[in-house]
Structures are given as C-alpha cells and as structure tokens.
Symmetry: C2
Subunit: 217 residues, 2 copies
DNA sequence: ATAAATTATTAGCTAAGCCTAAATATTTGT
DNA sequence: ACAAATATTTAGGCTTAGCTAATAATTTAT
C-alpha cells in the first residue's frame, strides 16, 4: 500500500499536527525526520497527489481523514510492538523505540489484531502514550506537563514525549519512570529549571526536560 | 547493514545452493524471486562487490562464508517468526509465510535472541524446517522425499519444501500436516503420481507435490 | 514601506532496484 | 563442426527517495 518512507512522513506529520492549529511546516518535518527541506517538499507533493494530505504551497500541510487514519494505524502498531518488547521480551522501556520504528511498517491486519489480543488490549505503551484502537480512537489522556506545575505541587509521571533513547536513559538514571511520584521543591525563575524530590533524592531538570514529561494529579 | 532486497537475494541463493554442487544460475534466482534475469545480473554484481558471493560471469554464483552466514541469519529470523506466529498468535501454518517474509528483515540482535528464548529455542519451524542457532548451525534432518518411496511403504510427514500458501492450503485440505501418517498404496508409472492412504481416506498427489513433502521412517 | 533574514521551492544530480530490448556467450542438436 | 536454441549480460529507461545549490516567497526588523 504505502512505502516505509511515506509512512514515516505520515506519522511525523501526525505528531507535529498535535502541536499546532495551522499547517505543519516543511522545516518542522525535516527537523523531525532528519532530512532536508527540499526532500520534504518532494515527498509532501507525492502524498498530496495521493490525497493523504492537503498542501498549500508555502503554508504547510494538514492530513486528510485518510491520511490521519493511516498515521493512527502506524502509531497503533508502533506502540503495540513497544508494549510487546517490554512486556514479553524483556526489553527496557528505553531501548524499544528503534526496533518499533521498523516493526511498525509490517503489513498484516491479522498480525496487529492478534498481537493486540495477545497483549490483552493494552491502553498505554511503555512510555505512557495511549494506543489507538483498531478504529483509530485514542483513549484520551488528561495531559499536563511537569513544566506547568508550581513550586510545592506533587504529581505522578504518566508519560514522556521525547522518544529518543538518550532522554529515556537519562530519566531512568535519575530514577524517573512511569508512575514515579515527584514533588516540585523549587522552580528557578531565570531558566525555568526545576528542583524535584523523588523519594528522598533531589534532582535538577531543565525546562527542555520538564516540557517532555506528562504528569497527573 | 544490508537492504531488504539484498537479503532476499542472499536467502534465495542460499536455498538454491542446497540443490546443486555448482554455481547458482541467474535464471534460477530470477525464477525464485520473480524478477527478470537482467535485474539479477545487476544485483549479483553488487553482492559480489561486497564479497557476499563469488561471481563468474555466465557460470553463476556461490555464497562466500560471510554471505552464507548472513543468509543463515535471515533464515533463522524467518523461521523463528513463523514459529512465533503459529505458537503464540493463533496463525495457521499455511498463512505465516508472507508475514515472516517481512519480519525476517527487522534488524535487532537482541530481538532475535529474546524471541528465541521466549519461544523456548525451537529446533523446527511450523513447516518442519530446521531453525539455525545463533552461530548458524542447522540441526540436521534425515530428509527423504515422499516421491522416493515405493508402493506399500509407510511414513510420517516431517516437512514441506514449497513455501507457497496455495500448496500448504492444498495439503491442509487433504488432511496432510506435520506428523501425518501416510501409506503409499499405488505409484502410477507414467506420471509418477501417487495414491496415498491417510487414516481411512485415499488421496491422489502429483509428482510435483510428493517432491515437496519430506518424510521419515 | 522597504530591506534583510528566514523559509520554502525548484533545478539538477545520485544511487538502488526494478524493467524491456538488444547484443553476446554458452549449450545443444544434427 | 556448425547452426539453432537457450541463457546471460549490456544498454538504456523509469521510479523512489535522498542530496546540494540556486531561486523565490514569506516574515521580520528597521
Ligand atoms: Mn518507522
Ligand atoms: Mn512509545
Ligand atoms: Mn523477505
Ligand atoms: Mn517455514
């Protein structure tokens, strides 16, 4: 149906779309996928021809209904495979992303359905991200970023937005994972960095980091 | 490391090599992979440049040690995935091949190792084919083709050589699978077709079919 | 309102993998 | 031994998916 490259673009655009109301820019896509802007322009023309997205020259792209449906199917596969790797194959949550990046492109309706069943139809992946169902419905997450909290507030870590292995390993080193209880002991005015208490340890996190940690409560 | 196409060629050549002493011909590869002879010539030049095979113009190719090792790694993955699909995901043995054809290209040493462990280090795949270990060692199978048996002989089905879904579905329809007991009631002289007794049914199989069924005893 | 900076597009090039048609080499049959 | 048949390679073309450099549009700053 679609090539691996096309699918990677669809998924990237889907993710970037979550963070803007207007069109997804060429440069944001090229940043996300580590390609040049010129390559992106080429590809989005192809995807527009296939009616997977609407493209307004110089004003970015937006997924069509079919484009979004397809992107969600890939996200679903990605997160199911990540769950499989962690739940059944003893992978660490910080080492599954690269492999899932490949596995998400396997084409077999039955495989996805059976994998989902086998895993007990999980609602969230090992990073706390919601897994779309077969129809593309996402279980909505009450999302709040750690960076939005005030001094003195307490919360539980519910998700991580940066899929890079280095970020996840960094968090693991600090003792931060899904379900970790955190208290904001101090917010530094000038760079918005935070001091946090985790159990009885104190750790420092930059704004870049706290922006990518989703919390609840 | 290698592309999907390169890996498919290596695997095809590995399989074809099992059936000849001398070089694997261009046309046999193109037949196996459903490509043209011209495409094969191009690809084997590339693979020869990478020292995965020895190529003598007009006299076919032979895998080098590294080429063979790589082919075995792909065969290993293919058969492990087939086992996973049948043993854990409720696939039928006759519907796993196409998906395994994709899964065999996933690159992750840890994934293969963990999958093997998870499945209990199986020695044979759902078609009765031996699964190479991590070092590329194949558990040797005492292989005899059903077509080699004489009238009156009895045997147990131990493997099937044609991976096509249609062949496997055909056998399933006739009640033939791994472990099925078969008695040769008649061998037709002129086309070498066989009449077989399975339980209390009698079935007819062509030479083409009996050539692709491995038996024991 | 214009100039400068930024962002996006186009043009032109490359490599992998496929193809068909033409040219060549090998094998087979007499 | 040679012609015919068959197999293989070469030549030339196409698509996908990337790149750099040049051009054009938009946005920002003066
Ligand atoms: Mn991917
Ligand atoms: Mn994830
Ligand atoms: Mn394959
Ligand atoms: Mn098999």
């Amino acid at each position: 149906m679609f090539t691996q490259s096309e699918e990677n673009y669809l998924k990237a655009i889907f993710h970037l779309q979550q963070e803007t109301e207007d069109g997804v820019s060429t440069s944001s896509i090229s940043g996300h996928l580590n390609t040049t802007a010129a390559s992106v322009t080429e590809m989005i023309k192809r995807l527009a021809d296939k009616d997977l997205l609407d493209y307004q020259k110089y004003y970015g792209v937006q997924l069509t209904a079919t484009g979004k449906a397809h992107a969600l199917a890939i996200v679903r596969k990605h997160r199911l495979w990540e769950s499989f790797l962690v739940e059944r194959l003893n992978f660490n949550w910080d080492e599954v992303h690269e492999v899932a990046e490949q596995l998400e492109h396997i084409k077999s309706k039955k495989l996805v359905e059976e994998l989902d069943k086998f895993l007990g139809r999980p609602a969230y992946d090992p990073h706390g991200d919601p897994i779309p169902d077969a129809e593309g419905n996402l279980p909505i997450m009450p999302k709040k970023r750690l960076s939005q909290l005030q001094q003195g507030e307490r919360c539980i870590c519910k998700g991580f937005n940066d899929a890079s292995s280095s970020f996840l390993k960094y968090l693991a080193k600090l003792g931060i994972g899904l379900g970790t209880a955190v208290e904001v002991t101090h917010v530094e005015k000038f760079d918005e960095s935070m001091t946090l208490r985790i159990d009885d340890d104190e750790v420092q996190l930059s704004k870049t980091a706290t922006d990518n940690i989703y919390v609840e409560h």
